[in-house]
Assembly symmetry: C2
Homo-oligomer: 157 residues x 2
């Protein structure tokens, strides 16, 4: 289980070192993701909005989006503006509440969301390619334990 060359795996494995590795991994994953998104003219914030829209059935109110994305309504306006200009989403009046706007994926937006999901799965396969199924399982369990401890952050509903 212990390797010889690696400082972290050599006995003491101080927790701060492990945390540093975790951050290093996060940075690399985020960089890779940003590059992939940039190739399609998307940013992370805009992609997340597309993604959330793709998760649900129909469209969402900008107000709902601001809750899900955990940002201000003003921020949603900007993201939707950009995505609408790019042809990814469409704004439509809310059927009953004339104050509200319903944001829906366009064909292009739906395709983008779909292909993001595929790319995501492909990336995950690559990232864990050197681990056995059991190892991935162990990693997932430990991740879960860490997350459970940090849980207090309210995320979605």
């Amino acid at each position: 289980m212990k390797s010889i060359q690696d400082p972290v795996t050599s006995g003491s494995a101080k927790q701060a070192d492990v945390l540093e590795r975790l951050f290093e991994l996060a940075v690399r994953l985020a960089d890779g993701m940003d590059r992939g998104l940039a190739e399609r003219g998307l940013t992370r914030a805009r992609a997340e909005l597309l993604w959330r829209l793709g998760q649900g059935e129909g469209g969402m109110t900008q107000r709902d989006l601001s809750v899900v994305l955990q940002c201000t309504p003003r921020n949603v306006t900007g993201l939707v503006d950009a995505l609408e200009a790019g042809g990814y989403v469409v704004r439509a009046p809310h059927p009953t509440d004339r104050r509200a706007t319903v944001v829906t994926l366009s064909g292009r937006g739906a395709a983008a969301a779909r292909s993001m999901g595929e790319e995501y799965a492909r990336a995950a396969d690559g990232i864990f390619a050197d681990l056995s199924a059991d190892e991935v399982e162990v990693f997932a369990v430990l991740l879960g334990r860490i997350l459970a401890r940090l849980a207090p952050v309210p995320r979605q509903a």
Copy 2:
């Protein structure tokens, strides 16, 4: 398509789900860190500059900083401007190259870097508090294997 209970811990542990957890963890860690930094009037980008300065012995050229931080020289100018205004760093002329500027930690900057290190260690202890030493070790090893595969990203010099 979807599993019955917990999709990750129940046998199949699809890799995309694990990746999602990993991102979730990264987001929470980053949020916590940003909050801590904000309490001292720092941002992540500025804190990283302080941190890097604290790692080395003396000061660094802005050019060097742009390499280490992997950003443009222009960006460094802005970060140093802000940190200098806050009293964290000092600009001084380079002893031999009159084009260059050497950025050095002030007393306050050094103190901030030091206390960031302490806080970091404390945070790491909290994050892994629910894992045994062996489990942290296993986690570190698996992290290392994943990182090794993603290694291609050039970091520092």
